[in-house]
Symmetry: C2
Subunit: 528 residues, 2 copies
């Protein structure tokens, strides 16, 4: 686990300052900002590598620098260049303040308010009550100097919805919070002890007009709100980067955590022996049938998921590039963006869940020694755990995938199979034909072939789509309420649908590189 | 979580001494030893209550006092009374030293050796190499004064297998270890931070002859080994107490941990709201279909398991009493003891696993706030986790259940349905008749009745028994090796068999108290 363990000898305070120190050190090693022409891919790789070394440091840098710079780039404009330069030079450190005490998943209901004061050309930020306190914000507890704050923008008494603001929090020299800011550390968590998650409440706190990230909307010289959708195509691309970069990072990190857990347990099982056979030879754990059934599915998942994670990152960067280049039509960009979002939502969920379960199983498979801190599995479990919740709670995310699929099902116009990742779902055009097919598999060989497996998956998706949609329609006419209908379809079968789509997406990337014979052999060896 | 949290402000060292202090305090509150006529039940209740307050303190006392005193009682004799009195008066504190670095589940292979020296009438204890170091021993790291050590007894060059010894480790006044003892703390674990698990190696360390727990065997005045099976009936009863008391405790503790996790998550779900319905009213999490499917099975399991745990503890105490009273025949005691052991093995496994999964699910169901230390779920998960491993690793334990069932299947003479818990398995006598039955259920009402559910469970157990046995026989003749045959039957279907038996055992205790109509209503409300 390298230095991501919380050491015996350090208190929480000391541990947190140690990770700040590590962040500073990392910084001196990192390339200067000019380098970031191909920044998305570069940042993803740096993040992935750092995470293996120390999850606390990678998250601190991701929140404090990379995601902040990314957001300035996507949502801001020329006037925010200063922050961009400063953060890359390590002069300031940021945080992303979205979640409030009462609202996490439902970001639309966030209550922090930024009111425009035309007299002083400032925004006045307020927290209307304790329930609207920003909470859980990484880096905010002790260390950040600035927040990228999401708040309801109000101009002349009219609310214009959530906007992003750069908000100075602490003096970069003294780290003393400014007047009007009530900020603190959230206290101990179940892991990620090196990250100072914090809370903040604003009391008539003023920031200059320029600190509004104005790509989406701005307040003009006359003090009126205007949306500046000058280039909606680029805006869509920007929203892709903003929404998805963090999740792509999580998929990469999770695949590495899975890899790490599985390697520890498989190596241990090969070397640890327990109980003798009748010849008196002690048996390696790996030879026990139960042990194989406990570990090998996760070992297999590691190959598949790690490969997907590499492949998907590349395709994601391609999509960002394509959306920037302007070679695609507006509608295509729009569909690509929702498609990437939909596939990422369900795969982020399935991959983080699989990893969390795998870590627990590997911990148990290493017996008592697996419970030792030095085995690394306890810390891995505790540090990985919040990934199922942050950057979108898994259960909430999979609903976005199923909603997107139902839209695709109901509106053939939305099916633009020329763009990634919609290309994967071309078979939906043949839905009825697929559902009427019966399996003609009569031998094990054919059953275990990639094409049979994919055919079965396609059938399953079509079936889940059709049944879920039928149920949804019936519930809509019964209750005349979309919200109620969706809620009542979650278990039967919207959630299943999204999970199967995640499995297919992940497997597809693997089948592309798998020699046709390999799968059959593997499956045949492990029948009853 | 009360004081079982590891506080921010304490280092590991300070935290460990804090729990020692808590142990001392608890002690002053506890009743004096005279009270322990009905000690088994009393100790189980104290342990269960303490565990809710602080898992570290309950485990320290269980290992340091209760299980030690219990072992002296069961395995020792008059000459060990002194230790018994001392430990109850808080003058000494013990640990149970069984596990070695290289051997945990396979206790037969333990290597620590106690050689009898006829000249000095002492045992000379040695650790033959680092692999035989005693490890993981709770209380041994810093605090215990004595160990209940399990070592291979050797007299005149002949080994007589594992025996228990009371071994002084540290001076009770100074807590300095004695010469010949190399002892240390095992370092950080993934939880239970207040317990000083330790390691120890012995170097020609001498203890008086009397310190051998001599119920099973002793060295006589002539320096010869003799087994003193004076009262085999009582010995069997003793082995029941020794083997099972800890596991009964774990079942109780787990059911409380499950209860705690489920209560936290259900209460939170009733009060936390997220997302609005079409009327603009925010929905409590508990109203979401997925949320119900995530939590309600564990809520249901809590009722069933908590009830089993109460019921089984009582029956267990009855069995101990019956074995002591001498009213049962020798064979009956023997069968009762194996039956209790078999049912406890599989239910300990299923209950600790269910609890571990439940804690993870409830953590996720509480969203980000569930990851805060104050939610208590992270500590609960980390502290509960080793229960799937200690007092017998779950995967190893369930094999003991399936082996016992296969014995019952093959040898009708073993089926003494007059004793608990064999009475639950009376239906095995009708195995073939049961397997030839077809279900005649045609409506939901009958399907959801307790009697249908039990009939299906009985069928399933019979089917698993028969198929597993058939496969085992085939493998035995193929490989001519019991060990290989058993290993190859683990997944198909010995493990399943044990798990189903655990489910039946747990449910039976519940169905006894369930009004017939309740189940049907509950099940009907939650169909698709
Ligand atoms: C370690 C950590 C670091 C974080 N860092 C940051 C940060 O830097 N900045 C920041 O702004 N935030 C941060 N967060 C907050 C995080 O983004 C939120 O926790 C997350 O968005 C989930 O929101 P919530 O906690 O309010 O959960 P809720 O939205 O309250 O959800 C709670 C539970 O209810 C379920 N649920 C909710 N809605 C539905 C529905 N419609 N249908 C079915 N089930 C539903 C969910 O599945 C979940 O299990 C962090 C959180 C953690 C744990
Ligand atoms: C917190 C904690 C406290 C403890 N306290 C004490 C104590 O006070 N005193 C003491 O003596 N010990 C103590 N122990 C040790 C504990 O009893 C052992 O860890 C336990 O018996 C398992 O043994 P092991 O760790 O050697 O695992 P192993 O026996 O090495 O098993 C490792 C893995 O292999 C699998 N496996 C092993 N054999 C088989 C098989 N035949 N078939 C299929 N799978 C198999 C198991 O399922 C397990 O997953 C403690 C352990 C912990 C974690």
């Amino acid at each position: 686990m390298g230095s991501s363990e919380r050491s015996t000898l350090l208190s929480l305070e000391e541990y947190r300052s140690k990770s700040s120190f590590d962040v500073k050190q990392m910084f001196e090693e990192m390339e200067p900002p000019e380098y970031f022409e191909i920044k998305t891919k570069y940042l993803l790789i740096v993040n992935e590598a750092l995470e293996i070394y120390n999850a606390n440091v990678s998250i601190k840098i991701a929140l404090g620098v990379a995601l902040f710079a990314n957001a300035l780039n996507c949502l801001g404009s020329e006037r925010h260049k200063k922050f961009y330069t400063d953060v890359w030079e390590g002069k300031i450190l940021s945080c992303l303040a979205i979640t409030e005490l009462e609202h996490g998943s439902d970001t639309k209901r966030l209550k922090t308010i930024a009111r425009y004061d035309a007299l002083t050309k400032e925004f006045v930020i307020n927290t209307p009550g304790i329930c609207a306190a920003k909470v859980w914000v990484g880096n905010l507890g002790k260390q950040c100097t600035h927040a990228l704050l999401f708040a309801q923008l109000e101009v002349n008494g009219v609310s214009h919805g959530l906007h992003g603001f750069v908000v100075p929090i602490r003096d970069p020299q003294t780290l003393q919070p400014y007047l009007g800011i009530n900020v603190g550390d959230l206290g101990e968590k179940s892991g990620l002890h090196g990250i100072d998650n914090g809370w903040v409440m604003f009391d008539n706190y003023r920031i200059p007009k320029e600190n509004l990230l104005n790509r989406v909307g701005d307040v003009n010289e006359e003090g009126e709100y205007e949306t500046s959708f000058t280039d909606p195509q680029k805006l869509l691309g920007a929203s892709l980067e903003i929404l998805s970069a963090g999740r792509v990072g999580i998929v990469n990190e999770s695949s590495n955590n899975l890899l790490r857990a599985v390697i520890i347990a498989v190596r241990y099982a090969a070397q640890r022996r327990q109980f003798c056979d009748s010849k008196g030879i002690e048996t390696p754990l790996l030879e026990y049938q139960t042990h194989q059934y406990r570990l090998f599915p996760y070992l297999a998942a590691t190959y598949v998921i790690k490969n997907f994670s590499n492949e998907f990152s590349d395709r994601y960067v391609d999509c960002v590039a394509a959306s920037r280049e302007g070679s695609l039509e507006m509608k295509q960009v729009s569909r690509m963006v929702s498609g990437v979002h939909a596939v990422l939502c369900c795969t982020k969920a399935v991959i983080t869940w699989t990893t969390q379960r795998a870590i627990q199983e590997t911990r148990e498979a290493c017996g008592g020694h697996g419970y030792h801190k030095a085995a690394g599995l306890g810390d891995l479990r505790n540090n990985h755990d919040p990934r199922v919740t942050f950057e979108g709670d898994n259960t909430v995310l999979v609903q976005q995938t199923s909603n997107w699929l139902l839209k695709l099902y109901n509106d053939p116009d939305e099916r633009d199979f020329t763009v990634y990742p919609l290309s994967m779902f071309k078979f939906i055009d043949q839905l009825d034909a697929i559902l009427s097919k019966k399996s003609d598999v009569t031998n094990v060989e054919t059953l275990c072939s990639v094409s049979t497996i994919m055919t079965m998956y396609e059938w399953l998706i079509c079936w889940l789509l059709k049944t879920t949609n039928r149920k949804m329609d019936a519930l809509k006419s019964k209750y005349n309420d979309r919200f109620v209908a969706r809620n009542l379809c979650q278990v039967f079968k919207a959630k299943e649908l999204a999970i199967v789509v995640a499995e297919v997406s992940v497997c597809l990337a693997y089948f592309l590189i798998l020699p046709a014979s390999a799968l059959r052999i593997a499956v045949q060896n492990y029948g009853p």
